[in-house]
Symmetry: C2
Subunit: 374 residues, 2 copies
């Protein structure tokens, strides 16, 4: 193997590739990047227990003298390329066991691992991928993954449930105390599908999507999901097991509806949550819709003190006065998923789940279970 | 106590005050801010085991209805004021044991501690403070504190030695493997002084100096040092014990002198240090001035590989070829203290301390002990 390429081109692709590098692993080959050099193309392959990434680099600056493949130590290679001066970097394999990286007055020799040790990873494409604007994919991830469980005793809840049915794609995450559901329209000639993607995989995909390319293609299979994004193939394993059926959890009729300015409600809950943050990130805040249509947000810590916030709904609230208590963190997490200036909070009763929705029909529902207080 | 003031004015002063708040302390009063309100002024006092800060606030927006003093829980108070909307905040004490903070539609009640529990802190000024441009004080701190020891077995080395002699102020820090010395000129009618200030105190002072006021006054005493900076008094305890006499450690004659572009040398050492960073932050790098006047920077890790960097001195080096090995971290730390495009590295021999100096006479010397290698 012997080729040269623009340093920045290589680096920008390595930074994506790195997202699937294992740093701690009993399998040393997973700390490596598999480099495949053919006549007009370099391929970078990385993988860990959740995801695998395959990147194809074709660039005017690429000049291949000799094709070949190698398994190179990932972290030190990326760190080194990152520190190189701009220009061209020459990369070659010497004596089958050393990678030489040369640029300007810099020479790095890296001991290679045996490329035959690297597992053969199949990137599974299908004929009918779902095409989405990548900014829509980003918002689906941002609006759902935060609500996955990070407790491993119900592994299925650490993932996001993706369902394709008729002309809808629905993403659902829940940790059993709250639920986030986002629905978007897609072409209706697709096969029905119901899979669960690890939340961590989606968090990594979100970072890759910062490249802000136009489109993303989703290749859904029963064993894996593959996102095709420019020159990048990003594949994730799926979680096995049945995701709970959540459609009946979301109430339909709401006798009490309050419309807020998103910012007013956010700052009031943030301030109210400060009192108990010291001991417990899940501080409990109370919301009280008073008969005079003013909403009181309160929090009380006998040891430290008490906060009372008054928030004025945008319009006269619908329904009767209500008192409800909830985790301020869950409420703030949910509010962050909305971009709109105004939001609706809709209640069915004091000890029943309530939901937050956008003023326009964005297909997004955030559901939160209240907590009982005396 | 009952007063109102512009929220931003209060917040900006609290953020400074907070630098001396203890978060973990067996003495609960050290988690508090002592608030003294007189007719035209608010005073904030905070202190921990190293430093004490006293801030005087006089502002057009200040309106005092009733004077008084209180000991308020520091962290939650600052966090709350930080989250308030812009405007005026009203603060009052109710029933001697509750602080009420009111702004717009927000009400916070905080349980007060007993203000009599707060220790009486004397801020010691003297008649002849040393006046410095505050940006000079910032660079003295930045150029020395990093070289203090963070190992507590020789506590005196965790501090920076400040000496006032004739018309010079000298700041010295050493962890016994490296030494940083900065000398600046001051008026020569000052009393001689030799004290050691905890490095941590200076790190906190550095953050306060981000306000970028013009001047700072230094009130040196035998028991404490007080920095007067606008409306802020920042006092630190001194370390007891004798700082080692370091003047004879710094060589005077240098048979070998190499002039580098600072950036060339920095990036070469950074790249060379990458190989061993994985195991040990103190990676060892070798410098070799070759007979052909090229400098080789190398690093070798049998397990991972080898880096060879060639650096071209700005001018032909003075002296004979030399090979020397050193901690890359120490060298990079030292290089960061120079702003100049070019620097001199001066050697007396392969196993003798070497120094780094600016090309102009900035009064700054960085000394590093080499390491022996085979």
């Amino acid at each position: 193997m012997n080729f040269s390429i623009n340093t920045d081109v290589l680096l920008n692709n390595l930074l994506v590739s790195q997202k699937a590098l294992s740093t701690k692993t009993p399998a040393p080959y997973l700390q490596g990047i598999k480099l495949e050099v053919s006549q007009n193309e370099i391929i970078l392959i990385t993988s860990n227990s959740d995801i695998a990434i395959k990147i194809s680099i074709k660039d005017d600056s690429l000049s291949v003298e000799q094709t070949g493949e190698a398994l190179i130590p990932g972290k030190v290679f990326v760190d080194f390329i990152r520190k190189l001066d701009k220009g061209i970097v020459e990369i070659s394999v010497i004596d089958n066991n050393v990678l030489r990286i040369h640029s300007h007055n810099t020479d790095l020799s890296l001991n290679l691992q045996n490329v035959d040790d690297y597992p053969d990873i199949v990137f599974v494409m299908n004929d009918q991928p779902i095409k989405l604007e990548s900014k829509i994919m980003k918002s689906v991830i941002k609006q759902t993954t935060f609500a996955t469980s990070n407790i491993e005793n119900r592994p299925i809840l650490t993932g996001v449930n993706i369902k394709v049915e008729d002309n809808k794609l629905t993403a659902i995450a829940t940790d059993s105390f709250r639920l986030s559901q986002k629905m978007i329209k897609i072409p209706d000639n697709l096969e029905n599908m119901n899979v669960v993607i690890p939340g961590k995989s989606l968090d990594e995909l979100f970072k890759v999507l910062e490249l802000n390319l136009e489109e993303i293609l989703i290749h859904l299979n029963h064993k894996s999901i593959l996102f095709e994004y420019g020159n990048i193939l990003f594949q994730s394993r799926l979680l096995e097991g049945n995701f709970p059926e959540t459609s009946r959890l979301i109430p339909v009729d709401f006798p009490i509806i309050i419309k807020f300015k998103t910012n007013d409600l956010t700052t009031a809950i943030e301030r109210a949550s400060l009192l108990s943050l010291k001991d417990n990130l899940n501080s409990i805040v109370k919301l009280y819709l008073k008969p005079d249509n003013v909403v009181e947000i309160t929090s009380n810590s006998p040891e430290i003190g008490k906060v009372v916030e008054e928030v004025y709904p945008v319009e006269k609230a619908i329904g009767t006065p209500i008192k409800i208590a909830f985790s301020s963190k869950y409420f703030l997490d949910a509010l962050k998923t909305f971009n709109s200036e105004e939001i609706f909070v809709k209640f069915t009763g004091e000890i029943r789940p309530f939901i937050i929705q956008n003023s326009d029909d964005s297909g997004l529902v955030q559901l939160i279970l209240p907590v009982r207080t005396e």
